[in-house]
Symmetry: C2
Subunit: 133 residues, 2 copies
DNA sequence: TCATATTTGCAATTTTGTTGCATTTGTTTA
DNA sequence: TAAACAAATGCAACAAAATTGCAAATATGA
């Protein structure tokens, strides 16, 4: 339940935040800013910006940036919080339906670069998704 | 030489484009929009936007989007053109010096997802680079 | 060198994001 | 359950970033 999620991250439960979360929960793919805007209905732009910022800071949602200036957001996994975003999944963008999905990977690829200390790896994939293929 | 690069992609050789390319060639890391702006000196913003758009379209440069809303650009490999961007490298962002590098990989990870037709994979890594580590 | 399509630079406009502040609301605790 | 207080909201004003249309300038091929 959305209220629990907010409490877990120690921020207040407000109608607007519940509304935003409900838009995220309604879909299984990641949302762009305009997806959110149209999903919410009437809203104040400033409040939405601040809500998104808070959700990002608290580890409630994460940003997904894909080639072609595509910027989306999706709900985080349970383990995420303000300081740690640990997503053992890749982000897949379908060139056909334009949707972006978070897909869990059984084994996350290991990459070693001599001299570099790699702290985090993100994988972005593009192609045709299960529904469109 | 920069003029050759423009000719190869069938666009006109102009002082402004040469200037922009020279900024790219001067550095080994990827450039943000403001890096470019300060590298060029005096310029018209509209012309810069259009030049970037043209270079992206023609496959002369590619965009790199990293977590934290970091957006940079870098010169493409030889093989790139309007329709195909084939980068067998990963993008590494150093949390210390804030620079972003394209790093060639000897072996690019193979990823298979049941039902999905993966056409392209991009890997973004974060951590501490060779120079800072 | 000329003709022509491309590119540039400017002005105006639109879109996107930010700041400050007064009001409202959620939560804690007595 | 009421009061107290911090957090969140909504509005207005502002600032920054990006886009459009168009006239003038320029690169290129004949």
């Amino acid at each position: 339940m959305s209220a629990e999620l907010l409490k877990k991250h120690k921020i207040r439960v407000t109608p607007f935040r519940i509304k935003v979360l409900s838009v995220f929960k309604k879909t299984h793919s990641a949302l762009s800013l305009s997806d959110l805007e149209s999903g919410i209905g009437e809203f104040d732009r400033v409040t939405l910006y601040r809500t998104i910022k808070t959700f990002l800071d608290k580890g409630i949602i994460h940003e997904i940036l894909m080639p072609g200036d595509i910027k989306k957001m999706a709900l985080c996994q349970d383990g995420c919080n303000t300081h740690l975003h640990d997503h053992k999944h890749l982000h897949f963008h379908c060139d056909s339906c334009q949707e972006t999905f978070c897909i869990d990977l059984p084994a996350y690829p290991e990459i070693v670069l001599d001299g570099f200390d790699i702290k985090q790896i993100e994988i972005q994939a593009q192609g045709v998704c299960k529904n469109c293929g």
